[in-house]
């Protein structure tokens, strides 16, 4: 056990601010404790399913794909996903170009579509190295790209949010969108992985 674990720690400045604001809003009847707990739970439980559904739809519907690349937020709404305030840019992988997302300044991420970002996405090593040695970082994730594939790194540093549209794997002809979506992991949507056909044995890895 860490020294100090379990000991009383006073609230930090921001924790105190959060608790004070929350209690005031509840006292004034603007929100309820249940509503806040429900929103926190929904955020924690949200995974990348919405982003994966958008990708799978784009794979089976060329017209949707065009709309997705033209206006990501509107394409999300089209599938019934509410994305208030989100300005989503979807970037497409091709045989010539691989895309990857990072936020060097903090940890900007389209949470409403992908859920909470993984810890490594918020870490200093990922944020600082992804912009300057992306090929090496991707290799560490197990993604070895051909030398002739150009890498396009997107630093999500301001008002836009990003999602990668990976390439549809070969050998999936005739699959419907629901089945295709199961291949699209969070890491594929960030661009540190590409969708793989399910292996015969179960060797799913997640970080």
């Amino acid at each position: 056990m860490k020294p100090g674990a379990g000991r009383y720690e006073p609230y930090s400045y921001f924790q105190l601010m959060e608790v004070s604001l929350r209690e005031l809003l509840v006292d004034k009847g603007i929100v309820t404790e249940d509503a806040i707990a429900g929103a926190v739970r929904a955020m924690r439980e949200r995974g990348p399913e919405r982003g994966a559904a958008m990708v799978a739809r784009a794979w089976v519907d060329e017209a949707y794909k065009a709309r997705l690349l033209a206006d990501g937020s509107r394409a999300a709404e089209e599938l019934g996903f509410e994305v208030p305030g989100l300005k989503l840019i979807v970037v497409e992988n091709t045989p010539q170009t691989h895309n990857a997302i990072v936020c060097t300044l903090c940890s900007c991420y389209p949470r409403v579509l992908l859920g909470l970002p993984p810890e490594w996405y918020k870490s200093r090593p990922y944020r600082s190295r992804m912009v300057r040695e992306p090929r090496k970082v991707l290799a560490e994730f197990g993604l070895k790209l051909p030398a002739k594939t150009a890498i396009r790194v997107h630093d999500s540093n301001a008002d836009m949010r990003y999602m990668v549209l990976p390439m549809r794997p070969a050998g999936t002809d005739g699959w419907d969108a629901a089945r295709l979506a199961m291949m699209v992991s969070r890491d594929c949507l960030i661009g540190v992985a590409v969708p793989q056909l399910p292996k015969k044995s179960k060797t799913r890895k997640s970080r």
Binding site: P134, A147, I151, R152, H154, N157
Partner: protein, 99 residues
């Protein structure tokens, strides 16, 4: 987008070469250090957004600043960059940081 106020006309268009100002003001700055002083090409115009440097000071950030996605060649950014020479980096720069 700005609320009913005039949205400034963007000074730059897709394909224009732009240079990020090399300046080091204090405060909440969304222009990363590593890109300051570098030259790239406008990839798209994203619209106009309240200036985050002003928002961070509890002001309204108006007039909104046109926001651009600018594409930089990785080889121009990092000395000794190892990778394909077609490798690029794209990020968003507000107009007042461009020249």
């Amino acid at each position: 987008m700005s609320d009913g106020k005039l949205v400034p006309v963007p000074n730059y268009r897709v394909g224009d070469r732009v240079t990020v100002r090399k300046a080091y003001p204090l405060g909440h700055i969304r222009t990363p250090y590593y890109i300051r002083g570098h030259t790239g090409v406008v990839e798209r115009v994203c619209g106009a957004f309240p200036n985050p440097e002003e928002l961070a000071q509890q002001r309204d950030g108006l007039p909104a600043q046109p926001l651009y996605r600018v594409r930089f060649r990785q080889e121009d950014l990092w000395p000794g960059y190892r990778g394909a020479n077609a490798d690029v980096l794209e990020l968003e720069i507000y107009q007042h940081w461009l020249e």
